[in-house]
Symmetry: C2
Subunit: 346 residues, 2 copies
DNA sequence: TTTAGCACTCCCGTATCATGAGTGCTAACA
DNA sequence: TGTTAGCACTCATGATACGGGAGTGCTAAA
């Protein structure tokens, strides 16, 4: 089943052409390709083979052929070479990151927008992986008698503040004391390390505090974890540019799916583990996005995988360029965030 | 130029029909209307008049007629009666608001989503009007030596927290003292009441604190005010359902415009002043949304106008139902938020 | 003032047809 | 034996024509 060099060349030419034009490519067009010196008849034979192997599909007799998902997969795994970004592009990206904004979320979002503009595909931002979050400090601040504000400082900056009910009559000193205990016990913990068990062990130290500490940590875990589903999308309407979606019903189905957000699980779950993940067409679970591909890259803060950026486009997307851009954006984003957090922490 | 009763009836019938079907309505269809006992020929004469006055338009000879923006305006101002929501709808809405979520932003967003689902139009949320925000409490929490966390509690709950640089060596007690001073001076102030002037007056009280207090307040104002442009949209892809946007290019132009967000200024600026605002078709500044109407309603928290909800649909939207829904949602949302904030505050 | 009647307009869906890009197959060629 | 030229065949696409139908405006009669 492995392809000989000539078949690979032909397949490459077909894919390149199809990515560019979105219309089925015929044998004659390929025979004109500078790298390929064969008559259209020969190409036809080869294409017939490639179709038999499952790399090509024919919309109908007497049309050219289009690459199958399998072809893209093969292309991505074995054939593609990483594109180089141009000077101008690099400069443009650098310029984007040099604008100083001091809100991490905003930077991430703006990055996704720029990425969308540069690729002309839709992009998405996957929120920080909860296990990358480490507690730094827990502070209970009295607000009114009976209410305290919980401020939890994490390695990513302040990440949660909620009001909790506390028994009346607790003094500021006592709260301060509790804060210190909690900080001592949980500093550098991951969020999933905070177990009921551990809290129970602290009961004797905490004394009367236990009940509201429980509430507080539960809420904190809650907000961090619900955050998980907060995928955000940008530039989705760009997908309407592509002839794949010149049918309004198809377009609507796609945008609906994106807006509902829960259909990118395959891509997303892959994303959290891998440096890059590429999900092509029908590899997605949802049949609605079966002619979309999703490419994601994680970005790291202080060496730790934090979240990911993703690009959503038609299966015939320019994988090579997208990967190059994602890699570059991922790295720059990581650096900027790392610097920002370092600066905040000392 | 004022219309006699018969013309009004006919116009009403045309509008009703057109809202329903989106296709030009002819004289014969109207003559069959139960309320109207006239031959199609008579209707034709009347329609001809209505066209002359500018209430109707004809896509081409031998087509029926469609209401103009002027007609919708007249309809909305003088003819429309508020729709009643059904029992089921009321129940459904109540059910939505009874689910307890303790995050105000999340409630507002979910409300916008439900509103979008019930109307099948796109909806938007305009963020709180900054002048509705009042400070309750300012708290400086030491984090590391040289860094403090600023927590500002407002009448809408905790609304900002930033790390600021402070001179090294300041004691927790001193910070606490500063917090109290700031709270005493600014409690119940609006954000725009915090002027450089007032801070200058406090210099003698604050002593060495002044510089970083300046930084802090500037940042706070910044985050509140940048919030202003944060319009959020929901269910935008629903607009693709309507034949107005069966052309992909038109659809893309619309969605692009929505995503770029800055084109709803007319509607938005109206929204912040009025209880309801209705912007019909070409009354919008941007020609791209010239066949969209935007209806907004403000919601109040503790009697004060906080933000608004908006509905975006084709000009032939069901204004009556949309207004009824907006009114109901606005009120319920206000109540829920008011309760939530009251509960948090004591 | 209303209405019936009629000629006229024009969109729209369908059918027809020519065109052209593309294929598969066969036979000849190197 | 692999490659290529040639040819018949397929089928989407776009242009054109055409009939039907919904709608109009006008005129004349009720």
């Amino acid at each position: 089943m492995s392809l000989d060099l000539r078949k690979i060349r032909i397949l490459q030419a077909i894919i390149d052409d199809y990515i560019l034009t979105a219309s089925p490519v015929g044998s004659r067009a390929i025979s004109k390709h500078p790298d390929i010196n064969l008559s259209s008849a020969t190409i036809r034979n080869e294409m017939s083979d490639l179709e038999e192997y499952g790399y090509l599909e024919q919309p109908h007799t007497s049309a050219g052929r289009i690459p199958s998902d399998k072809a893209y997969r093969y292309y991505v795994n074995s054939m593609m070479q990483r594109a180089m970004l141009t000077e101008d592009e690099l400069k443009f990206i650098e310029q984007h990151f040099s604008r100083t904004v001091d809100d991490a979320d905003k930077i991430i979002r703006q990055t996704a927008m720029v990425l969308s503009d540069m690729t002309n595909y839709a992009t998405m931002v996957l929120p920080p992986n909860p296990s990358a979050i480490r507690l730094r400090r827990i502070e209970l601040v009295p607000v009114t008698d009976g209410k305290a504000l919980v401020v939890i400082v994490t390695n990513l900056g302040v990440s949660s503040d909620t009001l909790i009910r506390i028994p009346k009559g607790i003094t500021a000193d006592r709260l301060h004391q509790l804060s210190n205990m909690l900080t001592d016990n949980f500093a550098n913990c991951r969020i999933e390390d905070i177990t009921a068990n551990k809290i129970a062990l602290m009961t004797d130290i905490l004394g009367s505090g236990k009940e509201y500490i429980d509430e507080m940590l539960a809420r904190f875990k809650g907000t961090i974890l619900t955050n998980k589903s907060n995928v955000e999308f940008f530039g989705t309407s760009k997908l309407l540019d592509y002839p794949e979606y010149s049918d309004v019903d198809k377009a609507k189905a796609l945008l609906d799916t994106i807006e509902r957000k829960d259909s990118f699980k395959t891509a997303i779950s892959g994303a959290s583990n891998l440096e890059f993940s590429i999900t092509i067409g029908s590899e997605n679970n949802d049949p609605i996005i079966k002619d979309c591909s999703v490419v994601t890259a994680t970005y790291r803060v202080s060496g730790e995988k934090l979240g990911s950026l993703g690009v959503i486009g038609p299966t015939r997307m320019d994988y090579s360029r997208v990967l190059a851009l994602l890699e570059h954006f991922g790295k720059s984003l990581g650096t900027v965030l790392t610097n920002m957090i370092d600066e905040e922490n000392n």
